[in-house]
């Protein structure tokens, strides 16, 4: 199984705490739980089957961002989501 390890940042590169991250769209079947970024803007989804995942990042102060990530088999994918 694979994992996505991400960071959510402002346009200035500062970490965003409290952003909500979830799978949407045509993502493979997933638990309908959403991650919340920590003080370092980090989140992690593990136990992922291979496929194309569409992530939505929802920040109360910075808006919404969508990112598509292709996940292979048994890999750890770093991801940075930066708001404009």
């Amino acid at each position: 199984m694979s994992e996505i390890i991400g960071r959510v940042l402002t346009s200035a590169g500062a970490p965003i705490n409290g952003a909500i991250v979830l799978f949407v769209g045509d993502s493979p079947a997933h638990d309908d739980i959403a991650a919340v970024t920590n003080d370092a803007g980090e989140f992690r989804f593990a136990g992922l089957a291979p496929g194309h995942y569409e992530l939505l990042v929802n920040s109360e102060w910075h808006g919404l961002r969508r990112v598509v990530v292709t996940v292979g088999r048994d890999e750890s994918i770093p991801l940075v989501v930066q708001f404009d």
Binding site: L22, D32, I33, A35, N58
Partner: protein, 326 residues
């Protein structure tokens, strides 16, 4: 066969039932036991109370009692509603109604924001702030089934890739954005089943939160009933779902309803729109002024979202967990 039940109390590790023990025996980490036979007998006294003339499989129906608690439910039934569809529209007024109707017509996402979250049943639905075993943070949904018992997804109380049992969960009934009309309680006592915590079976993805003894939200806001229906009754049933999705303004409650499209032994599938954060939400039938949860929402997928079905073993465990939070 009943599910093998395991119980967790924060800070005390995992107490799991050895598979060689009686698989049907629920256990608690404090050594107490729930007499399942008695519970089933007591529950059987509710059989047939639905009084639904169209319910041909009534003998196969077992229901728990859903109570609005404060006796003010009548106002919500002023509107005639389709069979099964909740009387949601009667809870909306003015701008809120206009907002809801706009949501209905603007595209494929026709979820409806619930702004009257201090009305039943919306106030019995809880926003969850979850701190996992590895200190990561998550959001989910739960629903009151008794004075101190909140039912939710198994993966809200036990997150396999993030330290197992949650450290704590903040439960916020009737949350409406920044408003928390009933404040919140932090719980550290959780329940699930071995099928989820050990074997990670999607079919066993359900659990419960037992609120602290000084936090009897169910007495204040009411709680849902729950039912174990036959396949034929569930097929094409119109069901309702409301919870706290992460793709909407933070902490807002959203509602949708559709018919069940597929009935499996342990899973119900439907086209109700959901998003991450709604795990644990109630999937309920509205009939004769009562709400009976038939599923616990757990999974999202473009081919159909799905719930853990309140099959007989799930029903029995909910009954036991409700008793533990009485």
């Amino acid at each position: 066969m009943l599910d093998e039940v395991i119980v967790h109390e924060n800070g005390m590790g995992i107490d799991e039932v050895n598979g060689s023990q009686d698989d049907n025996m629920p256990v608690a980490n404090d050594g107490s036991q729930v007499n399942q036979d008695d519970a089933i007998t007591a529950e059987a006294s509710y059989v047939g109370t639905l009084g639904d003339a169209g319910e041909t499989a009534v003998a196969a129906v077992e229901v728990g009692d859903g109570s609005p608690a404060t006796g003010d439910s009548a106002e919500f039934f002023a509107e005639a509603v389709a069979e099964g569809q909740d009387a949601w529209i009667a809870t909306l007024e003015g701008d809120a109604l206009a907002e809801a109707m706009q949501e209905v017509v603007i595209g494929p996402d026709d979820r409806i924001r619930i702004t009257g979250t201090t009305s039943y049943p919306w106030r019995a639905i809880c926003s969850l702030r979850i701190t996992a075993g590895d200190d990561s943070q998550w959001i989910g949904t739960g629903w009151l089934v008794g004075p101190r018992t909140v039912i939710t997804a198994g993966h809200c109380v036990f997150i396999h890739n993030n330290g197992g049992w949650a450290k704590r969960i903040e439960v916020i009934p009737g949350r409406n954005g920044a408003q928390q009309p009933y404040a919140s309680c932090v719980a550290t006592s959780f329940r699930s089943v071995v099928g989820w915590t050990q074997n990670r079976k999607r079919s066993h993805d359900y659990g419960a939160i037992i609120l602290p003894s000084n936090c009897r939200y169910g007495d204040q806001v009411g709680y849902f009933g729950y039912a174990n229906y036959s396949d034929s009754t569930l097929e094409d049933m119109l069901v309702n779902l409301s919870g706290y999705p992460g793709d909407k303004p933070v902490g807002t409650q959203w509602f949708h309803y559709r018919r069940i499209t597929e009935v499996d032994d342990r899973v119900l599938t439907y086209d109700i729109d959901t998003a991450g954060g709604q795990s644990g939400a109630p999937v309920w039938r509205y009939i004769n002024g009562q709400r009976y949860a038939v599923g616990i929402h757990t999974n999202g997928h473009s081919s159909g979202n799905s719930a853990t079905r309140i099959a007989k073993p799930v029903f029995d465990n909910i009954k036991a967990w409700k008793a533990q939070g009485s």
